[in-house]
């Protein structure tokens, strides 16, 4: 048994636990990813509120913990302890299952997300297809929630979202296919649908697919980036939960824990689709300029990034400590912030240790790219008004779809010619 | 303008001016035509307000007042007519669509019925409201007292 566990850890194994057939490590990975994504969602929740607040000249959460750092936890506690209401006229079973479907759909996709060449649960050879397929199941949860609530606003929200998600899936799929086409530009002429294979293809072709056949890759990427915002029901495409029109859309009748499951699912889905975009167009786990800036020195420099990032965060925290009011009332908060900064600094120092450094690099670059997308989500939300339903459909069917088709065809032609 | 109207309707209208504001008291039988004429021939295209006054001592208890404004002439005029309690008056919704809600409000507050109004029902008060609050004989606490007597079993909520 111990051998079975340690066999995966030997240096010669350079594949995912799923491929190696190691169920133990696959389970460990699943747990790590589940926990990591949950923590990321919590962090995202805090960051979104903070960043949005600063966009809007306010402070955001400031009371629970230093700079509101414990706010998401307080919120989670509140949601856990709230009364669980099921409307009397609701279809109880469907009402009960709907949030679970959304949650399962968005978390299942992480099985194939490649955080590194060996850092994924498994490498399905239909990886990207699997991700699109499973994430498209989330719409079922939305529709079920809206219908089961037996109320008008959720029903309209569900109708809107089903139409919206089905429409944008098509443009999204076409954009993905044009990226997949690019993977076949090698000696054998066979492409791949595997997430890890796609990143390897970018490595082999010495270019992120974003810049491949410029500007074709860029256009496909932009189409995907727009469609993925629509897929996850975020501003400016947040019609299914348009607050000012439908109160809260499909989850109007939900409260407490069930409601928080919707939120968890939504944020997990945001991270998941961003992961697809990173994998397909931004070189996945690869560090910037893996081919231009080669050699021992550059490898060392880039491997120091994770450590420095955490150190910088800890410096930020300590600056916050210094700027805290010197009133005794704030003593606990100041100490908390200092402790938080110390933890960040410690993590940063650990990340400088060579074996850790080498293993964590891939995950760091992948997460950093995904974090960029998360920031974009917040930025959109602060800037854009909401589309109207017919305009949304117009954008999806009359702009994105033809452009995506055109990009696909031109990519195919260029692929044959070159 | 006044002369023309006077010539047309004779003693039916009585033009007056108070504090530089023109108004006329018209016989209630003239009402739909006079308003129509004011709109079509005298260009009073904007009905500012429809309201009423209650004089319980008079025989004709109610004044119904149209406040009109003419965009081309930049001029206001008020048309006033007197009716008895329970008497209906022709609606002016077909002349100025604005009058729809304004007449509903007058009905709600005074109980004056407008004949030919497309949808005459209470607007500000609930459908089950008793009485018409802007009549002078309507006490402001009677509704309240009735409610507490029924629901709380006490004499007065004040």
């Amino acid at each position: 048994m111990l051998d079975y566990i340690t066999s995966y850890l030997s240096d010669s194994v350079k594949i995912t636990p799923g491929q190696a057939g190691n169920v133990f490590w696959a389970l460990v990975y699943i747990l790590i990813i589940f926990g990591g994504v949950s923590v990321a969602v919590i962090a995202m929740n805090w960051l979104e509120r903070k960043a949005l607040a600063h966009f809007q000249i306010r402070l955001g959460p400031m009371r629970v913990g230093p700079h509101g750092l414990l706010q998401p936890i307080a919120d989670a506690l509140k949601l856990f302890t709230k009364e669980d209401i099921i409307p009397a006229a609701a279809d109880k079973l469907v009402f009960w299952i709907a949030p679970l479907i959304i949650l399962c759909a968005s978390f299942t996709t992480y099985i194939v997300v490649p955080f590194g060449p060996a850092h994924a649960v498994t490498d399905l050879n239909i990886g990207i297809l699997f991700m699109l397929g499973v994430s498209s199941l989330a719409v079922l949860g939305v529709v079920m929630a809206g219908w089961a609530s037996n109320s008008h606003y959720p029903l309209i929200g569900a109708l809107r979202s089903s139409a919206q998600m089905v429409s944008y899936e098509i443009a999204m799929g076409l954009a993905v296919v044009s990226a997949v086409l690019m993977t076949s530009l090698n000696a054998t002429g066979t492409g791949t649908l595997s997430m890890i294979g796609i990143v390897h293809a970018q490595q082999a072709q010495h270019v992120w697919f974003l810049f491949k056949f410029f500007p074709l890759g860029l256009i496909a990427f932009v189409i995907f980036a727009i469609a993925m915002v629509a897929e996850t029901n975020r501003a400016p495409f947040d019609l299914p939960e348009a607050e000012s029109e439908l109160t809260a859309g499909f989850h109007t009748e939900y409260s407490g824990l069930r409601w928080s499951l919707f939120m968890l699912g939504e944020y997990a889905a945001m991270i998941a689709v961003s992961s697809i975009a990173v994998t397909l167009w931004l070189g996945g786990w690869m560090r910037p300029f893996p081919n231009a800036l080669t050699g021992e020195t550059w490898d060392l420099v880039f491997s120091l990034f994770p450590g420095f990032t955490f150190l910088a965060l800890s410096v930020f925290a300590f600056v916050g400590v210094i700027r805290m009011p010197k009133h005794p009332y704030f003593r606990l908060q100041t100490m908390g912030l200092a402790g938080f900064g110390a933890v960040l600094g410690l993590i940063g120092l650990i990340l400088f240790v060579p074996p850790v450094r080498d293993r964590v690099q891939d995950i760091y670059w992948f997460s950093a790219k995904v974090a960029g997308f998360m920031y974009l989500y917040i930025w959109y939300r602060a800037t854009f008004p909401r589309y109207r339903f017919d305009q949304l459909m117009k954008v999806g069917w009359k702009v994105l779809l033809p452009v995506a088709l055109g990009v696909l065809i031109v990519t195919a032609i260029l692929g044959v010619l070159l | 303008m006044i002369e023309r109207l006077k010539a047309q309707y004779g003693s039916g209208i009585e033009p007056l001016t108070y504090l530089k504001q023109n108004y006329m008291i018209a016989d209630s039988s003239l009402i739909p035509e006079l308003l129509q004429v004011l709109r079509d021939q005298e260009e009073f295209d904007y009905c500012v307000d429809v309201t009423a006054l209650h004089y319980p001592q008079r025989e004709k208890q109610f004044d119904v007042i149209w406040i009109l404004y003419s965009h081309p002439r930049n001029e206001r005029i008020r048309v006033k007519t007197m009716i008895k309690d329970g008497e209906a008056i022709p609606s002016s919704v077909s002349i100025w669509p604005t009058a729809n809600w304004l007449e509903r409000e007058v009905y709600d507050m005074f109980g004056i019925r407008f004949e030919g109004h497309p949808d005459l029902k209470r607007i500000l008060l609930s459908d089950g409201w008793k009485g018409h609050p802007l009549r002078k004989d309507y006490g402001i606490i009677q509704q309240d007292n009735e409610w507490v007597q029924i629901n709380l079993g006490i004499e007065s909520g004040q």
Binding site: N125, L129, G133, L137, L140, G146, L159, V166, E169 | -
Partner: protein
């Protein structure tokens, strides 16, 4: 990866598929039927995975469970369910249905009994990795014409549906 508990999963998934398929026709509520159908389709997708046909499984999930069934639900939700539940089933051809079911069952049993002699030769499982490529070769190589005909048929159906549903185009 080596398969684990194959027999158990096969019977489990078949059971899920069959029971939910039965629920599709026994449920009174149309939305429940549709949800059961989705479950049935997902069970099928999992069975495809067990047959080393991941591409077909993926397409099954994307197209049927995630796409077509959502549109089904969309339509069902727009139709008043209360009215529908009161209405009688429009189809009285249970005799024909029974005959068809018996015939189909007979065919299945026949294939099961005589199958070995009908399809002689060893089973040739395709390697997992080249599965997708093989499907592509078949669809766009060997059966190109049939494939295009099918897509043309679908196009005609779409146009027909639009014409029927919309008074003015």
């Amino acid at each position: 990866m080596a398969p684990v508990a194959t027999t158990f999963f096969f019977y489990f998934l078949s059971g899920v598929t069959l029971i939910s398929a039965l629920m599709v026709i026994t449920q009174r509520n149309a939305v429940h039927s549709a949800l059961a159908l989705i479950l049935s389709l997902l069970g099928q997708a999992a069975l495809y995975l067990m047959l080393y046909a991941p591409f077909v499984a993926g397409v099954q999930i994307i197209l049927y469970a995630g796409g077509i069934m959502v549109l089904f639900l969309f339509v069902i939700m727009l139709v008043s369910i209360e009215r529908q539940q009161k209405e009688e089933q429009f189809n009285k051809l249970w005799l024909v249905g029974l005959t068809a079911a018996v015939a189909l069952g007979g065919l299945f049993i026949g294939v099961y009994v005589k199958g070995k002699s009908l399809f002689s030769g060893p089973l040739r499982p395709l390697p997992e990795t080249s599965n997708t490529q093989d499907i592509a070769v078949m669809l766009y190589g060997n059966y190109m014409f049939a494939f295009e005909i099918a897509s043309l048929l679908l196009l005609v159906a779409i146009i027909g549906a639009v014409v029927m549903a919309k008074k003015r185009i």
